[in-house]
Symmetry: C2
Subunit: 312 residues, 2 copies
């Protein structure tokens, strides 16, 4: 039986798994370090693939990686955790080595694709997936198609300007959704307020995290609560825009920050109701958590390889 | 030979035309008033269709109308110029009457579809069409598909919030692209500046139009020039967002205000370069004017009927 192979390039490890047709449980899997003092991550990846390759006949390989990358050419332009991969044509190289088609896309797009095929979004035709962690990323399914775009850089939902005078984003621009509602944006807001003299159980600390702020908020700290209210408020503005643009039937939230629950989602939903262009967008709209957890990227890579290899 | 029939519901007239396969020149056409003191616009539409019907065997009908409307059910919810059409199922009614499939969508979506099939966007796979007149509307082709959305209300590009503290939009919300860069938004800005005492060759007048302001700008009036600079600045922010979201290969501008040329597009392009999330979005991006003029809606309705009737 023909297998599909999925690769998820994460912050510390690269996961490789082989799946039989119609299954989302790996028939074989392994992992290797993505960060390492010695170079040779590509060779380690090849060996990892070879170790599961023995299990069967592979039809195609799908790869999820942090971007920026070019999915059309299969090139990783620059990925945060693997400094030796600059403009690295990982998909063509693996395709030549293994003699099978290899497909690449960024982890947020593929988490959206994975949720649509195997997770919280099954049965929907128009889906917006939003991951909120150190950044804010998006994956969009529109009319049963993954949105990739001409340069393969579509669905960068976190980098939508919602206030030109807003705070700086990690990318260098101002007022992006990510600059208001990501984990670091929430922490920066708390730090600024502490420096301005606001009282809180929290201490100004360069390592202050959204997790610590969430704990303080759950214990009733007013500054911590207001930090999530602010993040939810701006997230509501961003999502109101996504609705006017994509008009999805389901919104799926993933990523660490999205796990704080009502702290973020209560003010988010209030803001969304207030800012949505027309209330009809909210009729029958499902708003839910991601279902695939840490497997979203891997299963998205699987979905990509299955989808694209059917077409070729 | 089988013909396709297209209907464009405009501000003053409803145009009806029949097209032979592969042609975008009407084999027969007629028009009837959309605004009239006597009711019966539906009956007049039926008669208009019957008058071109004699010309051949009609396979399908496409209709472009101002929204809001539901393209999936073929229902006009509320259209500015025809007060008697509230929740009016125009497509099912015509389909029953004439015994052919009838497809409906809003005029901005269909202008985008028309430009893609027959106009400035031929050969592109990812297209964003923006019409700037009394409102700002959008039509999006993503990966060779018209973006409609779950409720059929996708691609409302003018109603994207780009500054929550921005001016009021015609829809009642604040800080939409339309509230900065539409014709009435430009006129309102000039009026406000005149009331605040700014000197200009223009006079505060409730009927002040973007056309008058453009004339004054071309004669060197500083307030009129600054009004277009401001509109172009915010349009650049909006379009930077569209690029990060859709990553198109072509942007097409239609609508009356877009015809002012450099007055708007020079500051727009400067702002776009400054605000675009990543310069790679601009590589090989075509920015151009609409090619179909007043026929965009009619030809979009034709494209819709041809496209959808192939699928059914």
């Amino acid at each position: 039986m023909s297998l599909t192979l999925a690769v998820d390039i994460g912050g510390t490890h690269i996961r490789v798994a082989a799946f039989e047709a119609d299954s989302i449980t790996p028939a074989a899997h392994t992992r290797t370090k993505s960060l390492a003092k010695t170079p040779g991550v590509y060779d380690r990846l090849v060996k990892a693939i070879e170790s599961v390759w023995q299990e069967g006949n592979i039809a195609a390989i799908g790869i999820a990686s942090p971007g920026p990358l070019d999915p059309h050419r299969g090139v990783i332009l620059d990925t945060p955790n693997i400094p030796e991969w600059k403009n690295f044509p990982v998909a063509p190289k693996l395709s030549e080595h293994f003699g099978v088609p290899v497909f690449l896309d960024n982890d947020a797009n593929l988490a959206g694709l994975g949720e649509w095929q195997y997770g919280a979004g099954v049965g929907h035709h128009d889906l917006v997936y939003i991951t909120i962690s150190t950044g804010i990323g998006g994956g969009v399914i529109s009319h049963d198609q993954l949105l990739q775009g001409f340069h393969g850089m579509g669905a960068e939902l976190g980098h939508m300007i919602i206030d030109p005078n807003g705070p700086p984003c990690g990318c260098g621009h101002n007022g992006h959704v990510e600059s208001f509602s990501s984990g670091p944006a929430i922490a920066r807001y708390v730090t600024e307020q502490l420096k301005a003299g606001q009282k809180s159980s929290l201490q100004a600390d360069p390592g202050l995290s959204a997790v610590q702020i969430a704990s303080a908020a759950l214990e009733g700290d007013p500054l911590a609560i207001s930090a999530f209210e602010r993040a939810g408020h701006y997230l509501g503005i961003g999502v109101a825009n996504y609705l006017a643009i994509f008009d999805p039937s389901i919104l799926i939230f993933g990523g660490g920050v999205s796990q704080v629950g009502d702290l973020l989602f209560k003010p988010f939903k209030e803001s969304l109701r207030r800012h949505v262009f027309h209330p009809h967008y909210l009729d029958d709209l499902v708003i839910t958590e991601a279902a695939l957890g840490d497997n979203a990227g891997l299963l998205g890579a699987l979905a990509l390889a299955r989808m694209k290899s059917k077409k070729t």
